[in-house]
Amino acid sequence: MERSLALIALFAALIAALGLIPKFALAFGVPITAQSLGVMLCGTILGARRGALAVLLFLLLVAMGLPLLAGGRGGLGLFVSPTAGFLIGFPLAAFAAGWITERWRSVPLGIASGVAAAVGGILVLYAFGVTGMAIVLDKSWGEAALLITAFLPGDAIKAVLAGLITAALARARPRAVLSRL
């Protein structure tokens, strides 16, 4: 119980720490950021439920006004900005990544978690992100989807990294990879 709690808090802090890596602002208001790597890792390492909880914890503090999003942003205002869809999608992305990592055990962990990170952090997350952008920027779903291709190369790299890190951690500290306990 205490272990789960500490690890959830740690991963929420990890997302915040990744926010220190400078984001790259794009004209339509959704930045390229390293923080979605943190979201993927929450899922692949902590598993579906705890991973989603870690992301929710992070979002709660962002909503409280702590400047934890890349570039030192925070506050309730973000949840009505172009980036809102992504923020809402974050916990579900972690959940999806965790769900797949937990269940897909027939391939090596590195591959399973890499694919899981891609499904959660790209497929699921983009679905929410595009919807959010379409609403806030008053664009059609197709137009918004087109804008979002700018994220693909970066997010593919993040998914690979998530797979590598998860596998390395499983070797060094198997007990910490809650998604596979």
Partner: protein, 205 residues
């Protein structure tokens, strides 16, 4: 970014945390609504004055924490100079500096326990319907704790590296740092458990 401790005890440490947070919330909303460069200059000046009020040591600590924003300010400046809208750029940069500056001010002058008391108060409806909010309160406390502690541990790690290497840290530090973070979480879990942790009965008040 959230480092909770201030080098000196200020008068603001005694103010109620809820009021400080509410004011911060309101101030941030105003900042985002304001579109005038003059007003933003005034707001930023006021923010600096708040930092200066408790004295030189506090001001220096506060400015050091704001300094990490310079890449963003630089990026915004370059971008808006290229696009030919320097005034917009100045507004965005100032708004960011003021907003982060104020948020840091609140965190620097508010004890973690006071911050959590606010969350606890906000979560009152959950307890009314019989849910325990203890885990939530602890999770927030721990998350806020991890950020500065990880920075500190990272400092120790890069120091250890420098004692044995003429060059600075490289990518090989990633895994050691990850393990260090995980181990720290394990130690926190133990330390927490040793003092009652989430046990029912512990800390129900």
């Amino acid at each position: 970014m959230i480092s909770l401790t201030s080098p000196v005890e200020t008068r603001a440490h005694g103010w109620p945390a809820g009021a400080k947070l509410a004011t911060l919330c309101a101030a941030t909303m105003v900042l985002f609504a304001m579109q005038s460069l003059t007003l933003h200059l005034v707001a930023f000046g006021a923010c600096l004055a708040l930092y200066a009020a408790p004295g030189w040591v506090f001001l220096r600590a506060g400015l050091r924490r704001l300094w990490i924003l310079w890449p963003f300010v630089g990026l915004i400046a370059v971008w808006h100079l290229i696009t030919g809208a320097p005034q917009d750029g100045a507004i965005i940069a100032l708004r960011m500096l003021s907003a982060v500056g104020l948020a840091n001010l609140v965190t620097m002058t508010t004890r973690l326990s006071d911050m959590i008391a606010v969350i606890r108060w906000l979560a009152t409806p959950l307890r009314r319907v019989g849910l325990s909010t203890r885990a939530l309160e602890l999770a927030i406390a721990l998350m806020i704790r991890f950020t500065p502690v990880l920075v500190e541990k990272g400092t120790h790690l890069s120091r250890a590296w420098r004692t044995r290497s003429p060059k600075g840290v490289n990518w090989r530090i990633v895994m050691p740092f990850t393990l260090l973070a995980i181990d720290d979480a394990e130690h926190v879990a133990d330390a927490l458990k040793a003092r009652g942790g989430l046990a029912p009965g512990a800390a129900e008040r």
